[in-house]
């Protein structure tokens, strides 16, 4: 009976954690999954979002409201960053993956150092009415600080999926990495589409930052623990799928949770890497990857 209880608890915890992972990976599902830009700075951007939300929260703003509001300046930052990226690499035809990786690795470090200089290395947390309370159903106890960000993920993913499938700009974002010339002969400017998509990805970093800082305190380097996992989520889901991100993230969350419960918490960080390697070896297109 104890095993069953433990198992059920691990399952619920895994689903909740996975849902939060999906939110953290969502921006990368756009930049890497759709635009094919290896944005390793995404987790650092998410932590940047967490700090932005924490600042607003210190003036009494609800963290989720702050996340939504910060999404707007983050969008603008993303547009500027993409412009910088494309001017330094893509437009000169020198955009190889290694150079892009180096650039985004550098950006990641700059964000971290910037956060250290501005806020120090102390843990930073937020205040909200629901933090410290839990929902109890039977023997399962789930703190609201996990439940609320987890509930946000499906909503955001559903809205993003609608945008990507029902709007002209959404179709263009899905097309741009495959056939730029198709966009041009459809009367659309590929550079503008990519800027916009990168902006949306950064807006997602603000939302994910809010979610992450609700779950617990963060420090400037908190993004590092997520780098392997966000790539694992996007690759397992399959490049270019938005709803697949949720499924893949939950699978990884559940796997981690079971390893933590039944093996050892110290193995949990390896789970995502194992899944990443297994996916690349066994099913390189991921679970829901578009053909080709």
């Amino acid at each position: 009976m104890l095993i069953l209880d433990l198992g059920l608890n691990a399952l619920v915890t895994g689903v909740v954690l996975g849902s939060i992972y999906a939110l953290v990976a969502l921006g990368l599902a756009i930049t890497f999954g759709l635009l094919h830009i290896p944005n390793v700075a995404h987790p650092a951007m998410v932590i940047g979002g967490s700090y932005a939300v924490a600042i607003s929260n210190s003036y009494g703003m609800d963290p989720l409201v702050a996340g939504v509001l910060w999404a707007i300046p983050f969008y603008a930052l993303g547009v500027i960053l993409y412009e910088f990226y494309s001017r330094s690499f893509e437009s000169r035809g020198r955009g190889n993956t290694l150079q892009s990786l180096t650039l985004f690795f550098g950006i990641s470090l700059i964000i971290e150092v910037g956060l250290v200089v501005a806020f120090g290395t102390d843990l930073r947390s937020i205040r909200a009415g629901y933090i410290g309370h839990s929902l109890t159903v039977g023997f399962i106890v789930m703190p609201y600080r996990f439940l609320i960000p987890a509930a946000l993920a499906p909503v955001v993913i559903f809205l993003l999926w609608l945008y990507m499938t029902r709007t002209n700009t959404g179709l263009a974002i899905r097309a741009v990495a495959y056939e730029e010339r198709a966009l041009q002969i459809c009367g659309l400017d590929p550079a503008a589409i990519k800027r916009h998509a990168f902006g949306i990805a950064m807006a997602m970093a603000a939302l994910a930052g809010a979610a992450l800082v609700i779950t617990g305190p963060i420090d400037p380097f908190a993004g590092r623990a997520h780098i392997g996992r966000v790539f694992a989520v996007v690759v397992l889901a399959g490049m270019g799928t938005i709803p697949g991100t949720l499924v893949a993230a939950i699978l990884i969350g559940v796997a981690e949770s079971f390893v933590m419960t039944f093996l050892s918490p110290s193995w949990a960080p390896g789970v995502a890497f194992a899944i990443l390697l297994a996916t690349l070896g066994l099913r390189p297109n991921g679970l829901f990857g578009a053909l080709r």
């Binding site: 097309a175 056939e179 198709a182 041009q184 459809c186 009367g187 053909l291 080709r292």
Partner: protein
């Protein structure tokens, strides 16, 4: 109604000059064929008109609705939005979008947006096979179906002119006839201005009202009445022996 005028165009790649002093004109509502064998610069010329290649010198202008627009200062998507659609070499469909999504991508742009429903209905009516395959990824269509989709996509932008690059390439002879016939029917139904590059001139001159022959980057012949010209004469011109 629009007219495309190319005037003393010189273009090439790096140190290589491909087009030397090209002048031609496609009148409003005219279907003009651009004939030439492999590697004579047909695609280069069409890509200059579409803004993908910047020529070294010369002029390309579009006359539309009483104004004259210099195309050389415009980028490709702006040229599309001026009413010149493209059916490109290699078709350039988006492989990871469905047939319908490929059409909607074109139809939702600035120019076709207000007529998107009517344009989509027209495309599905004209090419029933595309309606049947609307939920299929474009990469899973046959070559002929992909060519029809590329043509339908061009129509979705509500164009006045269409530049078509070798619609027959890679298609079985019987399909070539269907594709060319479809182009002709559309041209008449919508009174489009069409410039069509071809090397299998046989079908092209059936439907074209005029033809230019491009050889080694120059226009070497111009046929004003393609119906009155014998096949042998055109073939010889294309081979540079006429």
């Amino acid at each position: 109604m629009s007219r495309i005028i190319v005037d003393r165009l010189v273009a090439g790649y790096g140190a290589v000059t491909v087009l030397r002093d090209i002048s031609l004109e496609v009148g409003a509502g005219e279907l003009v064929a651009l004939l030439g064998v492999n590697g004579n610069g047909k695609s280069t010329l069409l890509n200059c008109i579409l803004g993908f290649i910047r020529p070294r010198s010369g002029r390309i202008v579009l006359e539309t609705q009483g104004r004259t627009v210099d195309l050389l200062t415009r980028s490709p998507h702006e040229i599309t939005n001026l009413g010149i659609a493209s059916v490109p070499e290699g078709r350039r469909l988006v492989p990871n979008l469905t047939v319908e999504e490929n059409l909607l991508l074109a139809g939702g742009g600035p120019r076709g947006r207000k007529d998107i429903a009517a344009n989509l209905a027209f495309c599905f009516e004209t090419f029933p096979i595309l309606a049947e395959r609307r939920r299929q990824y474009s990469s899973t269509l046959s070559g002929g179906q992909q060519q029809l989709l590329a043509i339908a996509r061009a129509l979705m932008t509500s164009p006045e002119a269409i530049v078509i690059d070798e619609p027959s390439v890679g298609l079985a002879p019987i399909v070539v006839g269907q594709v060319i016939a479809a182009i002709r029917a559309l041209q008449e139904a919508r009174n489009l201005t069409i410039l069509m590059a071809e090397q299998s001139f046989f079908q092209a001159i059936e439907v074209a009202s005029r033809a230019y022959v491009l050889s080694h980057g120059k226009i070497i012949r111009e046929f004003d009445q393609t119906s009155a010209v014998g096949d042998a004469e055109i073939r010889n011109a294309m081979m540079g022996v006429g």
